[in-house]
């Protein structure tokens, strides 16, 4: 983009220089317009004698009284500034004759053409600016959020430009070449995705945001290439690991065996060691998730490898690492990691939520509340604030406040599964099993709706396990007469034992109490 701007400026400079040269050569000639307007008059460069001769000729045609006046000597300061022969009038710098003639000075044809062409162009520009202004405003909003490092809001604003453009096209009834979204804006959208989610997500989105015709821009843009390369390296690392021992994870191998197999691909071409260590962490969590010390060891190795590269891999594992620290009752370490993430993204709801949990674990209720205010300061997303509020009050044990917040939020944001989940846990803690089931059922429905719209973010492990617990306990202790009580059995049948966590099974089996999980330590099914 900058290269093209420089080329355009260079071309403009050449044109300006050429025009300047042409104009400077024209300077020696008399002005065309003057020749046209005053054919009988002398050109500007004529000598005063010539001017005098011509003016004498002109006076021959005048009245005799004027001839007499001509013969008198006129003081220099009273002479017409144009002809320099006749006396100027009282109200002007010119004699009557010159003033009359100079009023007739013609506007050059080029002047008319260029002047009115500019007027028409400006009219067109006004219409064009009016048409694209809504897209530009959305983009400017995105820029504003990006400048504040609120990447999710920036991404949302940038992605809205496509909807605005589509709406505009449908209103106009046709696709107009002057109403389009440029590659520059699409690149900003990808950058927002990279910062709000991950470079992997950004690399993955390039194909859907850019069309095949715009491939030239993608090839040219260094950042986009970087995201694509990160995704490629991740995929090739994943493939190498899968080949080396992917099946071992599901075949009952131990963590050590899996780790050894995974580490064998280290240093291979197209394999990033950081991704190898990350996948070791994932495999360890899958195989021996309750062994927090072992998991912490693996994350420490990942952290060391990532930091040794000098590149930023925070987006890859900091969130999981912080959650592990919270589980290990090490909130300070979790807060430090989340603070590091907030330096790059001030608008991340999940980072604030993790930090809020860590603060609550430390017993710093005021700090946790202040976090919600900080989040609100950087974000216009009211729905996320409701979730943070509901989580905060549930963790504080203010259950009536949770109900109040959720009731208020449902008026506008009924579609958010997490709000229904928080309310379900609240009812569960109050031993209101029917309402706990109803809210869990609602959470499941909302998550399914989002999933059907292509957004699978609603189906978290926490949601699946909460719905399982609420449904199972409602079957055990509820009346079964609530609105959706008839669906309890069918909902439970839809669960496979593999997708339900041990903690959830233990709660249902009565080995752990609901209070132990939801009011102590992490206070959730993390």
């Amino acid at each position: 983009m900058q290269k093209w701007i420089i080329i355009a400026i260079a071309v403009a400079a050449i044109v300006i220089a050429a025009v300047a040269i042409i104009l400077s050569t024209r300077k020696k000639k008399p002005a065309d317009s003057q020749e046209e307007v005053l054919p009988e008059e002398a050109p500007a460069e004529e000598t005063s004698e010539e001017a005098e001769e011509e003016s004498v000729e002109a006076t021959e045609e005048d009245e005799t009284s004027e001839e007499a006046e001509e013969e008198e000597e006129i003081p220099e300061d009273e002479l017409c500034v144009h002809c320099g022969v006749k006396r100027k009038t009282e109200s002007s710098e010119y004699c009557e004759h010159c003033e009359k003639e100079l009023r007739k000075t013609k506007i050059p044809v080029a002047g008319w053409i260029i002047g009115f062409a500019a007027l028409l162009l400006s009219l067109f520009a006004t219409v064009q600016v009016f048409l694209v202004s809504s897209i530009a405003i959305q983009s400017a909003n995105g820029d504003e959020y990006a400048a504040k490092k609120c990447w999710y809001s920036a991404y949302y604003a940038y992605s809205e430009t496509s909807s605005v453009k589509d709406e505009l096209t449908s209103i106009l009834g046709t696709e107009i070449p002057f109403v389009k979204i440029g590659c520059g804006l699409k690149a900003k959208q990808i950058e927002a995705i990279a910062n709000a989610y991950s470079p992997l997500e950004a690399g993955n989105s390039i194909g859907s945001v850019f069309t095949a015709d715009e491939d030239g821009y993608v090839q040219h843009n260094k950042k986009l290439q970087e995201y694509k390369k990160t995704l490629e390296v991740f995929q090739s690392s994943y493939n190498a690991i899968s080949t080396a021992g992917g099946d071992m994870v599901y075949d009952g191998a131990s963590v050590e065996e899996v780790e050894k197999a995974f580490l064998s691909v280290k240093g291979q071409e197209g394999v990033d060691d950081v991704f190898v260590y990350y996948m070791i962490c994932n495999a360890t969590e899958y195989l021996d998730g309750d062994n927090l010390e072992l998991l912490a060891e693996k994350y420490a190795a990942l952290d060391k490898t990532a930091k040794a590269t000098g590149k930023n891999y925070n987006w890859l594992y900091y969130q999981d690492y912080a959650t592990l620290y919270i589980k290990m009752n090490k909130p300070d370490e979790a807060i430090a990691l989340m603070d590091e993430m907030l330096k790059n993204d001030k608008g991340s709801y999940t980072v604030y939520l993790t930090k809020l949990r860590a603060c609550m674990l430390k017993g710093e209720t005021d700090k946790a509340k202040a976090l919600i205010d900080e989040f609100t300061e950087y974000n216009d997303t009211v729905d996320a604030k409701y979730v943070l509020d509901a989580t905060f009050y549930r963790l504080s044990g203010e259950y009536d406040k949770v109900k109040e917040i959720c009731t208020e939020a449902f008026e506008t944001y009924d579609y958010i599964p997490e709000l229904h989940r928080q309310l379900a846990i609240t009812y569960l803690l109050q031993k209101d099993y029917d309402n706990a089931f109803e809210e869990a059922y609602a959470a499941e429905e909302r998550a399914y709706y989002l999933y059907s719209m292509g957004d699978s973010s609603g189906y978290t492990d926490e949601l699946i396990n909460t719905v399982y617990i609420c449904t199972s306990l409602a079957k055990k202790y509820g009346t079964g007469e609530s609105e959706n009580g008839g669906n309890i059995d069918s909902l439970l049948e839809s669960y496979s034992q593999e997708e339900v966590s041990e903690t959830a099974k233990n709660i249902v089996d009565g080995k752990i109490t609901v209070e132990e999980i939801f009011t102590k330590g992490v206070c959730d099914l993390l």
């Binding site: 202004s133 820029d143 040219h220």
Partner: protein, 178 residues
Amino acid sequence: MRILYIIGKLITFPGSFIRAFWEHLTCKILKLPVEEGRYIGFHDNCGHIDHSFATKGFAAYLMATGPGYMNMIIGWPLMLMGYINLKPIGITPYDSLPLFIVYIVSYYLGVSLLCAQFPLVEDSLVFWEMAYKEKKIPVVGRIFAFIPALVTKIGAYLESWSVPVIFWIIATVLLFVL
């Protein structure tokens, strides 16, 4: 100063030319004698025309501000069309080379028009002196014309040093490059 002024005018020659055209047209409408019909060149009046001063208040006001208003009305949409499409909407040569060129030209035209909004210092002073020194204009007129006349007077001084051109060059760099 003269060199700086002429360089500024030549860099933004489309705007200077169009401004001179509006000035000429205004003279025609007000029946003011015009001595020099050459709009652009290496002369002190580059971007303006050599005309005699208006003797009536409204005519002097129109001569001082009219062509500038016209340039402003035409210049802003053109500049905005170029800027909005190149920066927030992000049109690049990869989207469409002709469109990209249209927007660059539009931005340049717009800026060049906005760089030629003010009259020559003498023209701005004619109205100023007539209105606020000789007080030849009714009080109501003087009140309403004060801000435009003041802006025009200051703008004319600044333009004689090519300040608007320098301002727009810096603004363009800040808007696009940074």
